[in-house]
Each structure stands twice: as structure tokens, then as C-alpha cells.
Symmetry: C2
Subunit: 317 residues, 2 copies
């Protein structure tokens, strides 16, 4: 297992700069007052392809030699990694094959196709996903870019908190959602080098709390098919992300489905950011654990903005 280094992150940042936005950091007097903390929202919802995942995907795609890139790339993903990899592959002009659960949001599937990716659908479980993916990979021979358990991807995701650290002085903590742990691992990689005193918190849906249980148990616990409105956070930790989570994360906090939807709607209404449910989990956990964050300067990573505008969660209730 190769563990990506701080230098890998620096190389990644140079490599991907032409293909990503340096996303803005927004603040809200309303949320500062409500939480008692100073919150700095790093808005990866405004990132190219609508999510931070384009950082890791671009690093993988543009780091391939011409020979390695010949058969294109392939992956499985609940959505944002699929469309980010399609975007990056399209920019390089190589094929991209992705396996997506048939239940993934239509907006994400449409975006994959829009960027030129080819979708093969699977059932919404880890076992089905891995089985279908093995067939697709065998048929295409593409370079496998895992959505998070890949050193190239983690080095790419780490560029987000490098920017955040430049944009905001003297952070006390950073909080990001956790699914497979790619963003959190990149955050650990970068902050443990640049600002080792900054505490790293991960935020997870109660209904997909395998990372929380893993963290408490001291080893990886994986669920096959958790169900949550936070569709980006259903996947389990793997060895590489577990390395970063177990070594660098201060705590994992959880929130209920209703708390996630409430936080999502509050951010839309107050901060005018179109963001997906996964991105609301950090604020939902801050609102539940005000004592942990009060008086602190906290970076909050808004991971993505790819939602179906016809199916907003507060409209189905």
C-alpha cells in the first residue's frame, strides 16, 4: 500500500490547476451567531463538475503516461467521482467507463453522459457494484481510478485544504463529510503537514455510520447497502483511507436524516448555495455539537452541488 505524501499533493496541485477552480470561501453572520463558532465554508459546490472530486480525478487522469492512458479510465461511483472522472478524461481526450447504482440521482447520470462518460448500471450495494465493475474493467482494459482508495485521488483531494489554509488564517478545526474517506484523507494529509494543530472532524449520516463505528471499534466496519439522503456517503472506508482516518481524525460526528435535510435547506436559504445533502452533514453535526465548536475558527468543506432540482428533499416530505 503506497501512502501519498505531502509532496504528492503539491505535485497534484500544479498538475490540476488548469482543470479546476480555486473555489471561494464564504462566511455567514447568521450561522456564526447560531453556532457560536466562526465558520468558513469552502465551497466545492462551485468546483468544476460540481464537486471536489474533480481534484483527485484530474490528478489521476493527467498523471497517466500516454501508454497508461491508451485504454482510458474506468471506475465505480455513486455519482460525483463518476462525473469528475468523465470531465477529466474528456479534457484529456480518452474514454471513461463508469459503473453507477441505478438509484443514483438523474442529474448526476446526465452530467456523466454530458461529459462523454459511458455508464453501466448496477444495484445499489457494494457487492453488486464490485461485481459489475470487474466485468467492465475486463472488457475495456481502462486504468482503474478508485473513487477514494487511490493515492493519486487522495493527493488530489488534499489540494482543497491547501487552498483553504491559504484563504483563512489561524483555523482551529476543519470538518468535512465522510463516506469512503477520500476528502477526509486528503484533508489529513495536507493539514497534518501544513497546520498539524488543526483538528480534523468527519461528519456522517446516522443511517450510514460505518466510519463512525469503525473509528470507535478501531478497525474497518463496512455495511453493504446503507440508505441515506446523503447519496454521496454510502460507501465504506478502505485500507488507505482508514490509515488517515485512524491516525489523524479527532472525532466522527453523526446526524439524522431530518437534521441533514434541515441543515441543507438552511444553507440554501441563508447562504444561497445549491449544495447536495452530503454537503450539509457537517453543518448538521455542528448544530448538534455546539460545545465542540463554540469560539473556534472552523473550516467547513461544502463538498458538492449536484442535486436533482426537481426532487429536492424538503419537497418530498
Amino acid at each position: 500500500m503506497y501512502i501519498p505524501t505531502f509532496d504528492d499533493m503539491l505535485v497534484a496541485h500544479e498538475r490540476i490547476k488548469p482543470y479546476i477552480h480555486r473555489t471561494p470561501v464564504l462566511t455567514s453572520g447568521y450561522f456564526n451567531e447560531l453556532t457560536g463558532a466562526e465558520l468558513f465554508f469552502k465551497c466545492e459546490s462551485f468546483q468544476k463538475a460540481g464537486a471536489f472530486k474533480v481534484r483527485g480525478a484530474s490528478n489521476a487522469v493527467f498523471g497517466l503516461s500516454d501508454e497508461e492512458a491508451e485504454n482510458g479510465v474506468c471506475t465505480h461511483s455513486s455519482g460525483n467521482h463518476a462525473l469528475s472522472l468523465s470531465y477529466a478524461a474528456g479534457r484529456r481526450g480518452i474514454p471513461c467507463n463508469v459503473v453507477m447504482p441505478r438509484t443514483a440521482p438523474e442529474a448526476k447520470k446526465a452530467a456523466v453522459r454530458g461529459y462523454g462518460g459511458t455508464i453501466t448500471e448496477c444495484e445499489p450495494s457494494t457487492s453488486s457494484r464490485e461485481e459489475v465493475f470487474a466485468k467492465v474493467q475486463a472488457a475495456t482494459g481502462g486504468n482503474f481510478v478508485h473513487p477514494y482508495n487511490d493515492p493519486r485521488v487522495i493527493a488530489g483531494q488534499g489540494t482543497c485544504s491547501r487552498e483553504l489554509n491559504e484563504q483563512v488564517e489561524a483555523l482551529d478545526a476543519v470538518i468535512a463529510p465522510i463516506g469512503g474517506g477520500g476528502m477526509i484523507s486528503g484533508t489529513c494529509l495536507t493539514m497534518s503537514n501544513l497546520a498539524p494543530d488543526v483538528k480534523i472532524y468527519a461528519a456522517e449520516p446516522e443511517q450510514a455510520d460505518d466510519a463512525y463505528r469503525s473509528f470507535k471499534a478501531g478497525h474497518i466496519i463496512a455495511d453493504d447497502a446503507p440508505d441515506t439522503v446523503a447519496d454521496g456517503l454510502k460507501v465504506p472506508l478502505k485500507d488507505l483511507t482508514w490509515h488517515f482516518v485512524s491516525n489523524h481524525v479527532t472525532d466522527i460526528l453523526t446526524a439524522s436524516e431530518q437534521e441533514i435535510v434541515d441543515a441543507m435547506r438552511m444553507i440554501w436559504a441563508r447562504m444561497k448555495i445549491v449544495m447536495e445533502p452530503s454537503s450539509a452533514v457537517p453543518l448538521a453535526t455542528i448544530l448538534k455539537n455546539k460545545d465542540v465548536f463554540a469560539g473556534k475558527r472552523v473550516g467547513v468543506i461544502i463538498t458538492g452541488g449536484n442535486v436533482d432540482l426537481d426532487k429536492l428533499p424538503w419537497m418530498n416530505n
Copy 2:
């Protein structure tokens, strides 16, 4: 009639800095490709109180002497000026009375109340609004801060394009929505001094095209009660804004209701910005007039983000 000067704008910017955000400029490869132009979106949707109007309102409120501020401030507004003035008055600790059409979005009324403003409702016509306002002003004795035909307000709105001009080099044009003309007048004030070669375009709904007809006729034409999804743009030009529009605007372009809603949805879906229908009118007109903007570097002012999240226009269709 006192016409605000470039120095008034500079003084305004210093005065209001503690009460406003320096909003980010976002770009979109998708929209650049679609329009053939290079678009730079100045996102006042992320402004405090959710709209650029907080600039002019704060300048008026914080420019009052203690004696002038004694009875607070009052105004009439379709929404964003009302809540911006309430926000600014709240920050100064003085009362704010506003007359709003009973048909104004609930989100805007709730925000006014949230900032401590007091609402008196009127019918959705200019005549009713002015009649009800005269009574409120007589009863409260508040300092009248007109939503746009006020030199303090125009000087404040001009600070937006000052920032835009610092954030983006070598603009060829700036486009903003036009209702009463406050933002456009501030833009003219600033750009005619800082970058006089930059063309200023105004964008207006076809169904409330009084500014367009005024511009073509060479004198102010006012409609009493136009109806458009762009609820911020129903008010007519007045003498002060007509001065700027008639002297500095290159052209006024219009878009249909469907074109406005389509452009709004595209910006939500692609750029992940919660913005109100009025803010989509510039992009709608750019998409209709690609030849005017192709090859140009164009600042597009996204004026505000205060919408009812339960009543999005594509959901009522």
C-alpha cells in the same frame, strides 16, 4: 436633483465595508462555451441580506447623523431593498418601517421581520404603494430611503462594480438587470469613471419593459402594475436613474418569462447558485443576443438570491 459623484461612491465603500461581503466572481466553462463570450458572474446573491441592495441601504443608514437617525428609516420596496434596509437599520439599532406589496415573496417578508423591520402591506401597484407609504412616513417620521432614486443608494450600489473592476481585468462590458435602475445607475457612475470604454447593458423582462421603452423613446415611461416572474424588476425609472440610463447605457435588452426561468434554472443547475428570477434576466438576454457579446469579456451582475424555496418557478409549470 443631486447627482452622486465618483467620490460619493468611494466614501460609500469605506463606510459600508464592515456591513457587506466582498462577493466572489465565479466563471463557468459551460456558459462560456454556450455563449461564445467570457462571462464573469459577480455574485451579489451571496451578499449580506442576500442582495446587492444592502450596499445602498447601508450607505444611507450609516451616513445619517444621530439626529437624522432618531426616528429611524422608512421605505417602500418589492423586497430586497426592504430587507437590506431592515438589516442595516438593525445593525445601527434604529427602527425600520417598510411598505411591501402583499404579493411579495414570503421569503422576503420573513427576512424583513427576521432583521427587525416592520411591514405595512399595499396592493401590487405603484399607485397603491405610494399612497400607503405616504401614511407610514407621516406616522413614523422616519428618514425616507428610496429603493433607487436616492443619491446615497446609487453611490452605494456603485461599489459593486468597483469590486468587479478590481476582480476582473480588461472587461469589455457589464450587464445587470434593470427595474428602477439603481444598480445600473451605480454601475454607470463607477465604470464611466474607472473604465469609460466598458459598455453597460441593462437587461429587462419583456413583460415589464418600461425602461426599454423609455430608452427608445428618450423619456421616462412608467407602467403602474407590470407582472413578471422577476419580482424585483417591476418598478419604473425615476429622474435620477434616468439621468444615468440615458447618458451611459449602451443598450437595453429584453427576455420573455420562459427565457428568464430557463436561464435561472440553468444557473442553478450548472453554477450551483441560488438566485432569484430577476438575476437570471442578464444571462437570458445574452443567450438571445450572442452576437452582441461573442468574443467579449462580460461582467454579469447576479443581483440577489432571495427566493421561496417551496415555490421555484419551474415547479409551478
